[in-house]
């Protein structure tokens, strides 16, 4: 039997203390132990990006992270970004521009887009494509995702310039 280790971490603002096997992936911990099934597992080798979360505010592959490595850290998953009836700016733009079809890659795509908005730098469509290139989507052909992120970024930059808080996503 593999010895379990205690971890304490914050996920979407709530603190969780658990004893887990050191080999347990953050994806499995979030999805199975905490029931946060928003992020998905698409490849387990860091290419597809479906499991992307925010780890201490920046995007990270949950499949390439052991849950014990998240000890003491702050994790944000799609469940912490907005909710039905109170979608975040990015979620609204994704809906408006039909930037999701099956929705499987979407939670990871949103985490990456969230970081793009957090950086709050104006980007061309080509730069947005580059920034999104670590998240594979097989349904949309990316066109509508680029439009959604571009419009969200413009609005965020506009509102930041106007003095509101740069609270991305």
């Amino acid at each position: 039997m593999i010895r379990k280790r205690p971890i304490i971490l914050t996920v979407n603002g709530s603190t969780y203390a658990r004893d887990i096997e050191p080999r347990r992936l953050l994806t499995d911990f979030l999805r199975e132990d905490l029931g946060l099934t928003g992020i998905h597992v698409g490849c387990e080798h860091g290419v597809c990006g479906a499991c992307t979360v925010l780890l201490d505010g920046t995007s990270a592959r949950a499949c390439l992270c052991l849950a014990v490595q998240a000890d003491g850290r702050e994790v944000t998953t799609v469940e912490g970004m907005g909710e039905i009836g109170a979608l975040s700016l990015l979620q609204e733009k994704f809906r408006k521009h039909h930037a999701l079809q099956c929705g499987f890659c979407t939670p990871g795509m949103l985490a990456t887009a969230h970081e793009i908005l957090s950086d709050a730098a104006p980007l061309t469509d080509a730069e947005i494509r580059e920034a999104l290139s670590g998240n594979l989507c097989r349904c949309t052909g990316y066109e509508h995702i680029v439009r959604a992120v571009s419009e969200a970024l413009s609005e965020r930059l506009g509102s930041t310039a106007a003095g509101s808080a740069p609270n991305a996503g």
Partner: protein, 787 residues
């Protein structure tokens, strides 16, 4: 809709009803479902392409704490299921949960470990050793076709399907031709690559002796019927639920051994049993496609008119004949659609489908038509070049003209009225073809390798009962069902047999029902993907759901509207002809009398005494209707691509991509655009990036997402889509299917554009994907040949 009522939702960019849950992580994919006491499966898979299984040593694995059991084929008595066919000479193969006696491709499952967790199951699977007696690996389809070594011992040869057909006088057409162009074309193997890997969770209820399988499938009805047969259970005791499904593209449209396996295990163990594929397993075992070698020759007169076409099609269908589509599916589809949207009466083709020691082939977006369009559109450009005709003019002269529909093609397919010429002209206008040609001239003068490619195609969608989704297959897929009901609260539910997995059917079908009932679109709940919700259905594939389920939605919606009006007329003491419905409120014209749908619902179900006894036998607000479009309908498009090739690195960049298409009346333009975009990018992947590669021993080399190269946003151009938006005449609602077209036209357009960019070197692109490696070789050969 009432004739006088303009549709409110059909044709509008209605935001998707499924989005809020999917955007907030509240969707429910199979692997998201956690049932108490679920057991987990890990599979021991063959690392040989072709071998006899001598032994399976499970002792060490079985001793691991947490392991519940280890199973091989010997532990199950279910007999194999065969994909049968009416096609003469067809040889079927059996599908079983685990390999019986021998393995036929790398990745075929041999043993299943059931354990308390996936981690333990994988630990145990790693301790199992399999003894093999290797057999010759038949990886090349030409070699397999001629080999005495048989993959399936009961077969006469490795050729599962062999067909020849001809129409018109091909010999005369070729004898009279001013020019003949021919080439050997090769389309390499792809995998559909849904981002959600396949996942199955079986839950056998001992008390009810009933099984529920949660499956990431496109075809819950097909799977239900198959499982009922394999498990020898009545259909009502087998329920297959496709909840949120993370993309399919055809890869989830067939029956898989693991669906049978978890069902058998759950019944055996009396607990829920889950298996979720990892990406390696997906790349080894999900059905693959597009693996064809096609020799074709086109005869053309001096004015560029197509006279005749000859083709030999060799399809590599992998180790098994897929259920239910059979090995005939793709190679026959190539042959059927090869004559394209053109006036081309004289055609002959020979089709051979060969079984090899590779992953079984199955449906993938476009099915055969991407290869068919690639071959024909290349040949047309080759002929145009010989005749010094512009590729657009060449197509303009040959496309079936508006007055010629219905048009029977050289393969016997009948095109109903569709905007072939209109799409070509719209695409040229949309892309500003003369300006694009001028841009090409400027680029070339600067030494840049810039090319423009055009491809036109047509496809049959929304296939009804008079056609077969796959030639010879025993299941007729020609109808779909819809049940629309208003309940006592006035809420509207519409239940379908189709299974949405990204297409947005929860929205588009709700749009149709909402317009028929004149209720708000977000008040319509769409149920789909649950075999228990309908008596019969097959599912979502072959660009059928908008046409078939949409048609059924119109019919059942109209029927319920009539029932609502009938009940309301009685309640208001009015004539049904004087009643209107608007936003769920029924009103009598010229009066201020109104009723809400909820009031009608409550009266019908909870105050039925208000109605006379003779009305009550039929007194519900519910209707089930089926729709059968009989033949199906023709969807057509023209794709135009502009590419630039780096003359030093041979990397191809798609600079521009435009589609003009006729998918009939658009239900939701936003969703249609999304479908076309996704299809195009899979077509770009097929043209430039994606290839399943096996070595000579049948080992899959492209077994990770690093090695199987699917395009990301950075490799993808901005996409432009134009629609004719004219109602199809032959289908209810005027819809045509459009989920696959993007993938059909894009490889051909890009192949033509690359060839155009390389025209100064006289290079013909006859093999896809046109990777930088392949272009490097072609250019090197061309330059060496010159010197």
């Amino acid at each position: 809709m009432q004739d006088d009522a303009r549709p409110k939702f059909i044709g509008s960019r209605v935001q998707r009803l499924e989005d809020p849950r999917l955007l907030t992580g509240a969707g429910g994919f199979v692997d998201d479902i956690q049932l108490a006491h679920t057991l987990h499966v890990a599979l021991v898979r063959s690392d040989h392409a072709h071998a006899r299984i001598l032994s399976v040593d499970v002792d060490a694995a079985g001793a691991l704490p947490g392991v519940i059991g280890i199973y091989t084929a010997d532990d199950f008595s279910a007999s194999p299921l065969h994909a049968t066919s009416r096609m003469k000479g067809y040889q079927s193969t059996g599908i079983t949960a685990l390999a019986e006696g021998k393995v036929r491709f790398v990745g075929e499952a041999i043993a299943a470990v059931v354990a308390e967790s996936r981690y333990i199951a994988e630990d145990a699977a790693g301790l199992i050793t399999v003894g093999y007696a290797p057999l010759p690996d038949l990886v090349d389809s030409r070699i397999a076709a001629a080999s005495d070594v048989l993959l399936h011992e009961h077969h006469e040869s490795n050729i599962l399907v062999s067909r020849k057909f001809a129409r018109g006088d091909v010999a005369e057409a070729f004898a009279n031709a001013a020019i003949r162009v021919k080439d050997s074309f090769r389309f390499h193997r792809k995998t559909p690559l849904a981002i959600e890997n396949r996942s199955y969770l079986a839950d056998f209820n001992k008390g009810k002796q009933a099984l529920t399988l949660y499956s990431s499938t496109q075809v819950p009805g097909v799977i239900r019927d198959a499982l009922a047969e394999v498990l020898a259970m009545p259909g009502h005791s087998v329920r297959v639920v496709a909840p949120d499904v993370g993309g399919g593209f055809g890869g989830k449209a067939s029956l898989y051994p693991e669906e049978i396996l978890v069902s058998l295990l759950s019944r055996k163990l009396g607990q829920p049993v889950k298996w979720t594929s990892d990406r390696l397993e997906d790349l080894l075992t999900t059905s693959q496609a597009f693996d064809e070698a096609i020799d074709a020759e086109l005869a053309v007169d001096k004015d560029g008119h197509l006279l005749g076409l000859k083709a030999e099609i060799l399809g590599d269908v992998g180790a098994y004949s897929i259920y239910p589509w059979t090995a005939a599916l793709e190679p026959m589809q190539v042959a059927g659609f090869l004559p394209g949207p053109y006036q081309l009466a004289n055609y002959q083709a020979e089709v051979v489908a060969v079984t090899t020691n590779k992953t079984p082939a199955g449906p993938y977006r476009g099915v055969g038509r991407p290869a068919a369009a690639f071959v024909l559109e290349r040949l047309i450009d080759m002929a145009a070049q010989r005749l010094d005709l512009d590729p657009v003019e060449m197509r303009r002269r040959n496309l079936v003209q508006p007055g010629q529909f219905p048009y029977r093609t050289g393969s016997g397919i009948v095109w109903d009225q569709s905007g072939f010429i209109e799409c070509l002209e719209l695409a040229c206008k949309g892309v500003n073809y003369p300006a694009l040609q001028a841009e090409r001239s400027v680029a070339r003068q600067a030494g840049r390798w810039f090319g423009v490619g055009v491809a036109s195609y047509a496809e049959l969608t929304g296939i009804g009962s008079r056609m077969s989704a796959a030639p010879g297959m025993p299941i007729n897929t020609g109808t779909e069902t819809a049940t629309v009901e208003v309940d006592a609260s006035g809420a509207v539910r519409a239940t379908f047999g189709v299974a949405s997995h990204g297409q947005g059917l929860e929205t588009t079908l709700a749009q149709i029902v909402a317009d028929e009932l004149s209720v708000p679109v977000d008040s319509v709940q769409v149920i789909h993907g649950d075999s228990a919700a309908v008596t019969h259905s097959t599912g979502t594939y072959a660009s059928r759901s908008a046409v078939l389920a949409g048609g059924a939605a119109h019919l059942s919606g109209q029927a319920v509207r009539d029932k609502v009006l009938e009940a309301a007329a009685f309640m208001l003491e009015a004539d049904t002809d004087d009643l209107d419905i608007e936003d769920g409120i029924i009103s009598e014209r010229g009066t201020n009398k109104t009723l809400s749908l909820a009031e009608v619902g409550r009266a019908v179900y909870s105050e039925m005494g208000r109605f006379p006894l003779e009305m009550r036998a039929e007194l519900d607000l519910r209707a089930t209707k089926f729709y059968d479009p009989e033949f199906g309908t023709t969807t057509s498009a023209t794709h135009i691509a502009a590419v630039e090739i780096d003359p030093e690195t041979f990397i191809v960049t798609v600079k521009r991509f435009l589609v003009a298409e006729d998918c009939g009346r658009l239900i939701n333009p936003m969703i249609v655009d999304g479908q076309v975009h996704g299809g195009i990018v899979q077509g770009i992947g097929a043209a430039l990036y994606e290839e399943v590669v096996h070595d000579q021993n049948g080992q899959a080399l492209s077994a990770s997402l690093v090695d199987y190269v699917a395009p990301s946003a950075a490799e993808t151009p901005k996409l432009e889509v134009l629609h004719l938006d004219t109602a199809a005449l032959g289908t209810l609602g005027g819809y045509r299917g459009m989920g696959e077209g993007g993938t059909i036209g894009a490889p051909a357009a890009i192949a033509n554009a690359i060839t155009d960019a390389l025209s100064h070197l006289n290079i013909n692109i006859s093999e896809l994907p046109a990777t930088p490696e392949r272009i490097y070789r072609l250019v090197t050969q061309a330059i060496e040949g010159d010197t």
